[in-house]
Symmetry: none
DNA sequence: GTGGTCTAGACCACT
DNA sequence: GTGGTCTAGACCACG
């Protein structure tokens, strides 16, 4: 895992784990590796790992069983909604910034289509 | 102007001034206000303002005439290219992150269309 | 039984059993279920169950007859006093924290009355 | 400041700062001491202090101005509501636990009155 | 000087 | 072995 310099590592790990969850790599209700294991895997300090996981828990995507481990939430809807929310946020932000730049919507749509066609993205 | 807390202020000002330039609010070759004036306007420290302007100058969007002030570049192409570059970057980044989330391109296109239709964005 | 995450499970079980005793669900002198049965019932590790019972015994609310089982104390006064002690502790703690928050006693009394009226609590 | 052993220090500091805010010791909009100063004052590690303050910020009771310091929220309503919320929570929890113990409401009221009379609490 | 982040490492209670 | 907490100390960007 390569971390960028302009964002906190714990947030980058957070984002990565979110991806694993919303794309079903970590299944609903599944136990996730221990804090220490994850810290080793990402080559970060356990505290940093802990912080990333705390954020996940705050979002309701995982929960903790004391002395037992951490688990993906059992509520599939939370995951589904979270995924949808991210998507809407990103789409909205994208369209907003394109509009600020002065592109009419048709042109934006054109760009999206072209870029989606050209490359496999 | 409301600044977010998770990004340097000078970058947020930079972005804002870029918008003014690429949307022709600051015309090609036009003189822009002095550092002091801008600092007052944005309610920031002159050092912060200076940093934002330095970034603009580095991108070639403005240039400095010593003792005379700062001006928007006279080369309209620089501005046009810069605008296009931002747009492509944003579009690429958007499509990439949507793909990471597991959305097929058709669904992304759908979301863009819907959101462009629904709201004035 | 739903356990909270911020307190030891054995303490939560302890509290629950205390309730059973002071509210006479477990009568004076009555035999209580075996550690194993209770552990199964609460879905916890027998060690955890044992710890909860040890605390009860320390408080004098139950006693152990070797090879025979555990029993609620025969001394009704112990139970009565314990109940009274808890009540006073809770009341004192409650009033203290309300005072710390800056509520005058009259207002506290008002809140108690209202909340006791409105809901069945 | 004497910390208890059965609760995280950062939460005890959190509670204490909440008291300072809801009782107007820290006024609306006022700058609070720097993380380092507070850490020194409470004799804890800056990280611990930071965690306590993060919780406060999450609750909306304080906000951060980057490189400038932390401030009590400017919205007096947030503070007022928070105070009221704590009071209701505490009252509800108190009445609930007294009911669980088997005390009829009249008796609870009596205890509250007596204890409020006897001592200055 | 400000807050934010991160590391290294330790200790603890609980199961 | 699990998560949670805490310390000591460092570095960084920002203003």
């Amino acid at each position: 895992m390569n971390f960028q310099n302009d964002r906190p590592i714990y947030l980058q790990i957070f984002d990565y784990l979110v991806l694993l969850i919303v794309t079903d790599k970590y299944k609903v209700g599944e136990k996730i590796p221990s804090v220490r294991e994850l810290a080793t895997f990402f080559k970060v300090n356990p505290n940093t790992m802990q912080k990333a996981l705390s954020e996940l828990e705050e979002e309701g995507l995982i929960y903790t069983e004391r002395t037992n481990g951490k688990f993906v939430t059992n509520d599939g809807n939370i995951i589904k909604n979270y995924k949808e929310k991210i998507a809407l946020d990103k789409t909205l932000e994208y369209l907003k910034s394109m509009k600020e730049l002065g592109f009419p919507f048709e042109e934006v749509l054109e760009k999206v289509k072209n870029m989606g066609k050209d490359a496999k993205i």
